[in-house]
Symmetry: C2
Subunit: 407 residues, 2 copies
């Protein structure tokens, strides 16, 4: 692991044990030496599950399995390995998934449809699943309620720090908790930018409601971030509700308002930690687009700015080059009024009415660009659609990491 990102949170807030969830990890030696690369989460019987997965048309074998298993709505085991993505591994990859799921289900005494798996790492290299199944039995015997940080760490690849978050809420007068972790630093883009994220709650929530909450929450969190515009074949965001908190099962979303807010906070928190660990990132960039024809248009314009290599290198160079923001708005393909476009950087009006702002003084803007959290606000002047997306700068570090990942 390289040096920790300068944008990393100063402390790691590890969640306390959460009813119905236990973890264990193991070193299966798939790719990495001297670290755990298998994460196992054991869930209480009756745990409900929701999931959102990559829209890649070359999705990995584990993603195909999880999509199918999700129909059952129940989960007992999660098995994640790092170091090998088991993606583009053909029929052999599907067989590896089947063997892993079958072994896990037998050991846990549950149906195979309650086992969810994920693999992250190099694409196209056959997965030696025997190394995983060989350690599953022992790993399952060692599960413990306080294994959050080790669990998060076992899933990491090019990440420089583990990403954990938690929140509390109340459902029908009963306090419940939400906690989760995720991994991801590169190949992060719209349409499920997660890589892998696992969120757990001790609340009792039926699977269909859980799925609705997760789908909505992913839009303003993991689907609103980008590191490099590349979409992984393995992106998986899953939410498990163990019911250990003992609340009466809610029957509609209205009863889950507070829970939803807490969940959205955890999802956004985790998503931003991914951007903060963006490969080579030195600056976090928040881009708010307003005045667009619709929310969708605003998001598309925001993503065009967030994915522009010229905008991202300007941020890396601490250069308040707002002309590149104009360029990115223009290429987004969404309605924008050139003569009403307004741009603020760090709150300072830089451009308005189709040109540089009257009396524009670059000094405070340059100072803002020298910080490590950059804010762009872009009003495209045609409607009321708004969206906020996040990205990071494009630096020499990104080239270093990705020009030599496999070798």
């Amino acid at each position: 692991m390289t040096a920790v990102s300068p944008l990393a949170p100063k402390t790691i807030a590890v969640p306390a044990p959460l009813g119905g969830v236990r973890f264990a990890t193991a070193a299966a030696g798939l790719r990495y030496q001297g670290r755990d690369d298998v994460m196992l989460a054991e869930l209480a019987p009756g745990t409900t599950v929701a999931g959102v997965f990559t829209r890649s048309l070359t999705a990995s074998a584990p993603v195909l399995w999880c999509r199918q298993a999700l129909a059952g709505g129940k989960a007992r085991l999660v098995v994640v390995n790092s170091g090998n993505a088991n993606a583009f591994t053909g029929k052999a990859g599907e067989a590896a998934v089947r063997r892993t799921v079958e072994t896990a289900a037998r050991l846990a005494g549950c149906p195979t449809g309650e086992v969810f798996i994920a693999s992250t790492g190099t694409i196209g290299v056959p997965l030696d699943d025997g190394k995983i199944t060989a350690v599953l039995g022992d790993t399952l015997r060692r599960v413990a309620a306080d294994g959050w940080e080790r669990a998060a760490r076992a899933t990491l690849t090019t990440d420089t720090y583990p990403k954990l978050s938690q929140a509390e809420a109340v459902i029908g007068g009963v306090p419940v908790r939400i906690a989760g972790f995720c991994k991801g630093a590169g190949m992060i883009a719209p349409d499920m930018a997660t890589m892998l994220a696992y969120v757990f709650t001790d609340a009792n929530v039926p699977a269909p409601l859980l799925q609705k909450l997760l789908a909505a929450g992913s839009e303003t969190s993991f689907n609103s971030i980008t590191v490099d515009s590349d979409t992984s074949t393995s992106d998986s965001l899953m939410l498990f509700a163990t019911g250990a908190a003992g609340n009466a099962p809610p029957v509609n979303l209205a009863e889950l308002r507070g829970f939803r807010k807490a969940l959205d906070r955890v999802l956004r928190d985790l998503a931003l930690m991914v951007v903060r660990d963006g490969e080579g990132a030195r600056k976090l960039v928040e881009i708010s687009v307003l005045g667009a024809a619709s929310r969708r248009a605003a998001k598309r314009i925001g993503m065009a700015i967030a994915n522009s290599p010229l905008v991202k290198t300007a941020v890396a160079g601490e250069d308040a080059n707002w002309g590149r923001i104009v360029m990115a708005v223009g290429k987004a393909g969404e309605k924008a009024d050139r003569d009403r476009l307004a741009i603020r950087i760090g709150g300072v009006l830089v451009a308005c009415d189709g040109q540089v702002a009257p009396g524009y003084d670059e000094t405070p803007v340059t100072r803002h660009m020298q910080g490590d959290e950059i804010r762009f606000e872009v009003d495209v002047g045609v409607g009321r659609g708004r969206a906020t997306v996040w990205t990071c700068d494009l630096t020499h570090g990104y080239i270093d990491i990705n020009g030599s990942y496999r070798t």
Copy 2:
């Protein structure tokens, strides 16, 4: 100007004088010191014109002018400045265009609608057009038929070498010539990746036919290249036919088959020179996609591969990481059959039937990746659509150039 790209042609083949076209350049001092930054091309009376421009919704003032002037179908003067793009300069930018065009038309004794202009450089900085109009009269007096290389050089910004190309053809038994130059190195993407390109022929071709040829030719040349996925606000590709060769005017495209081939060759030649001068480029990458649902789908898949930062950094690292090609195919959003996908690198079959090729030996592929012209061939296994696109690698040089462009 930084060191010349290692991918640059070894010699600059400067076109011989071409009937009906004369050039002159001047140093107006817009941004650069000690070099010419204004290019003027004077065309014989009756010259016809065609043009293809950026699809950016924040197109520059000169682009808006050219689109409008194109309706007349005739051209007498072309005025191009480098150092300032006159883009996002509001009403002031439009006024600058108007003054420049009016001055040029008065000096040349032609209607304003026969003057075409372009500006390239920094966006959002008001253009001091007085500096341009001040030199126009003297520059026009100095036009000469042998000014090709100086003309090409005056339009450059971050380019490391001038880009010129030429070809011959026959129309109705009469030999004709085509020659042109272009500039562009960054902010190069689909939907007119040109930045600026000016192509001239001494053939006699009516404007409507010229426009058809140029629109078609731009698709397989400038619209099939990408350096960084960013689209300029100023992209302009123009073709001028002076008629000096004296051929009888053709009445349909069938009479222009040979001319079209020659034109397509010049356009592709110029477009590839842009990729070869991609900011920081050390390798040229040709990506052929076949087996797609349509030509359009093939091109979209090709561009997804060509724009992927992970693919481009892998090329920079000389890493035959074909898994990233699979990833890019998956994110393109076009139909692909994971289990029939086949990938060749440098002609060697790397993957087929949804997994690594049987007995795959990386040695020859790694050797190919160490060269400076890389070839990917991707069969997505669903249809007969084909397309070829070109890009370059993403290196530390790109970050260096764009992290400090303005400062």
